[in-house]
Amino acid sequence: MISSWPLLSVITFLPLTGVLFLMLIRGSEESLAANARLVSLWVSGFTFFLSLYLYFGFDSSLSGYQFEERADWITGAGISYHLGVDGISMPFLLLSTFLTPLAILASWKSITHRVRDYMIAFLVLEVMMVGMFVSLDMLMFYLFFEGVLIPMFLIIGVWGGAERVYAAFKFFLYTLLGSVLMLVCMLVMYHMAGTTDIPVLADFSFAPALQFWLFLGFFASFAVKVPMWPVHTWLPDAHVQAPTAGSMILAGVLLKMGGYGFLRFSLPMFPDASSFFAPFIFGLSVIAVIYTSLVALAQSDMKKLIAYSSVAHMGFVTIGIFTLTEQGIAGAMFQMISHGLVSAALFFCVGVVYDRLHTREISAYGGVVDAMPRYASFFMFMMLASVGLPGTSGFVGEMLVLVGAWEASHIVAVLAATGLILGACYMLWLYRRVIFGRAEKPEILELTGLDRREVLIFVPLSLLVLWFGIYPAVLLDIMAYSVSDILGQVGASVSAQTALR
């Protein structure tokens, strides 16, 4: 019976039922807060459950889109309500629905005022994220892509730290500026092709000269989202000021929207421009990897350090995507999912101690292992995954990207590999300063260990990181066909061009 449902629509819009419910309930401040937490946890948990059902129904031996839904929207204009998942969007869909309940759980105690509004914002955010990954219509994609800004702006601005207003504005305006340029390109594409259907546009061949401009417009949007050097400066501010759960979602899912956009739009639709701009993107990414790693070394704020490490890790993703090789793209995908899990966990690590000591300064800590041994081990595991220790998911992604990069350009691979070493430096150093050493401050010794809720967040994240590290095929199999489809589209066009010359 359930198989006849419009499953993707249900998953996308299910959190709205929670929003509606939260809007209607009345009561005292406290009971409202308690109910809001429970309702949003249940709703997002159920959404995750449904997306698991989707995952088990997903046939990874087929290429193309599955669970497709299509309905009239703007009739006669080539714009329709079109949903579907393929091997590229499926992992992101799961990542979004998986991280949302964990993020809600992570804000269980740290958010104490206007809890209902907070939960409404989070559920709306989930709708936007999931909707963006499953949209197969460009206009719908844009609606969700931009719609994300509204709840995230509020989450940073209302529940953020001291400099939250500045961070929220910077986040919003930076991202909007990139996106509106993409909007103009979308209008041009719609004008040319007469439809906003993504599969149709992927088969439509735009003239190479036009591709050049279209690529740049989309690049403006996705590069800000990823974020790539030099448009990454909103990220550290946003991360530092956002509440823990906001950072988890921001690093875990929102950054992936850029990478997803490259894979869904730039590569298949502008193949000539993609191969033309690849060296340029390698350059920016290599700078991102090395420069932001060095910047991360100099940080005294834990969240800022992890934020910069995100920029560096996302640099690997963009390198991988534009190697235009099977290993590179699969590696980039893998790296995105892995980074989604690891960075969310790392931001939660910061959140755990921030909830207790209310500071993110690295120098305020030291010797935490004495008071919180279990926390220290989870932190260590995630730190090593971030560094790319074999056996964790981080290793697989970086390895594949480097293999792909070696095929594309030796020098890029070598330079990117130095980023790995720097990554190990700042993460290990962070870990040493926070966890080890002698606990000199009395408040460190009085820290309480992890409670059940916190363990409940760490365990699934750690298990997945380990599972993907030991048995990467589970993820690689899902995306294999879609990756080669994308490469087919890029390769077909590029070889046609060379033949013409």
Binding site: E146, G157, L176
Partner: protein
């Protein structure tokens, strides 16, 4: 159906408003003598005017589907005109609904509602004007009552200044318009729109083009497109808030419709010429509107600049000179009416120390005192900034699409870039409401009767994406039969 019957039914909304205006005159005159309870008196007048808008709206719904020419072609009733009339009447209904019986600011007089009714009648006539003479008559019927209501707060210097400024600049624009009209008449030999178009078929003469420039400049005053926007911020600020709300919601719909009718029906063969003017007006308005609003501290002034920017976006659709462009303007003006109504619904509900809010900083901390009001305002602000999935985004999508279709890609780029600048000041209001605490408390027991307007408008804004398919289809049909 014989001629008189057809004429009567096609002009029914105007007849209703005209008759109701007479009724209001009588009510105002006779009730005044009784002196028994000014409150009840205002209630009666307000209900009567609301009733007339409602009745006229119903009459618009019953209008014939095709094009009807009335009074020796002085007026043309097209489905496009009918749609815009409906929009104007909805806007007028909202604007009058928002005025409570004891508002203050000098407008608690029967004359206020009477004058607004006359202005709305003028707007309906503007929408179907099909001749330079009827155009001018309708335009003045619309403008004169508005000059008076802008200056109605007699004890405030700013209001008198607003009224005077509005009147002087309005007179100047009428002068420009008349001069243009006389040139056009001189060179084409007719005041009829279709006759002018026929004269243009043979190639536009210099005199006709000059006349067209003057005529369009005169109309640009009315829609407050830059560089003819100077009066807007001062009038918005000085006029009593309900009058500002009216200005923000209704007259520009009528003026934009008139501009579209003039450009398409009478200057159709000279599209290449007028399109350049409109492109310049559009780009200038978008830039002036977006940058001018940033430094404002008065919320009415800020919304004035915001409306200048909105007119710039709408003109970007018109500039394309295509059917897609007209469709886009119809959609844009629809979203504009509801956004304006919702924004003023909020502003006119909040009071501090007994007077309506004026400064932007008065909104600080609104979200903790009035969560629903601030949520409404937030949705409107995001929508005005063009953030999807709200209504404002679809308006922008269609106008920029029309601009791109017509090859005006740079105009679309200016448009999206200024919309980012615009987002900054809309976000500033959200910041004040949500990220800051109130420095002084809001008045308790703020009036609740504005809820209806806000509820309807916000529902339209939020649920717009459901209906956009139908609306686009309908607007496309309107354009195909009207132009």
């Amino acid at each position: 159906m014989d001629f008189t019957q057809l004429t009567f039914s096609a002009a029914l909304p105007e007849y209703i408003l005209a008759v109701m205006a007479l009724v209001l005159v009588l009510t105002a005159a006779f009730e005044r003598q009784s002196e028994s309870g000014a409150h009840g008196h205002m209630k009666l007048v307000r209900s009567l005017s609301l009733f007339s808008y409602f009745a006229a709206f119903l009459a618009v719904l019953g209008l014939p589907d095709g094009t009807v020419f009335l009074y020796n072609d002085l007026f043309a009733l097209t489905p496009f005109a009918a749609y815009m009339k409906a929009l104007i009447l909805i806007g007028a209904f909202f604007a009058s609904w928002l005025v409570s019986e004891q508002w203050g600011e000098g407008i608690d007089r029967a004359e206020f509602h009477l004058l607004v009714l006359m202005a709305v009648l003028g707007m309906l006539l503007m929408v179907s004007a099909n001749n330079l003479i009827s155009l001018y008559m309708a335009l003045e019927l619309q403008s004169l009552p508005l000059y008076v209501v802008a200056a109605m707060r007699t004890n405030a210097l700013k209001s008198s200044e607003a009224g005077l400024k509005y009147f002087l600049l309005g007179a100047l624009s009428s002068g420009l318009l008349l001069y243009g009209a006389s040139l056009i008449y001189g060179f084409s030999g007719s005041t009829d729109f279709s006759a002018i178009a026929a004269a243009l078929q043979t190639g536009p003469s210099a005199g006709l083009v000059v006349g067209m420039v003057f005529l369009i400049s005169g109309l640009a005053f009315k829609i407050s497109a830059a560089p003819f926007h100077m009066w807007t911020p001062d009038v918005y600020e000085g006029a009593p808030t309900p009058v500002t709300a009216l200005f923000a919601i209704v007259p520009k719909v009528a003026a934009m419709t008139l501009l579209m009718n003039v450009t398409y029906h009478s200057f159709g063969p000279a599209t290449a010429q007028w399109s350049q003017i409109i492109v310049a007006l559009s780009a200038a308005s978008m830039i002036v509107g977006a940058t001018g609003a940033i430094m404002q501290t008065n919320i009415k002034r800020m919304l004035a600049y915001s409306s200048i920017a909105h007119m710039g976006y709408a003109l970007a659709g018109l500039a394309s000179g295509t059917a897609a462009g007209t469709t886009a303007v119809i959609i844009y003006m629809t979203t504009y009416v509801f956004m304006g109504a919702a924004a003023f619904g909020v502003i006119m509900t909040i009071r501090r120390d007994g007077s309506p809010v004026e400064r932007i900083s008065d909104l600080a901390g609104l979200s903790s005192a009035h969560p629903l009001l601030s949520a409404t305002m937030m949705i409107v602000m995001f929508s005005m900034a063009g953030i999807p999935p709200l209504a404002g985004f679809f308006g922008k999508w269609y106008v920029f699409l029309a601009a791109v279709d017509a090859g005006f890609v740079p105009l679309a780029v200016i448009g999206v870039l200024t919309s980012v600048v615009g987002a900054f000041y809309y976000l500033r209001i959200i910041r004040l409401m949500y990220f800051q605490d109130a420095d002084s408390p809001f008045d308790r027991g703020a009036s609740h009767h504005n809820r209806l307007v806000m509820l309807i408008s916000v529902s339209v804004i939020v649920l717009f994406f459901f209906g956009i398919g139908k609306l686009a289809e309908h607007a496309g049909w309107i354009v195909s039969v009207s132009f």
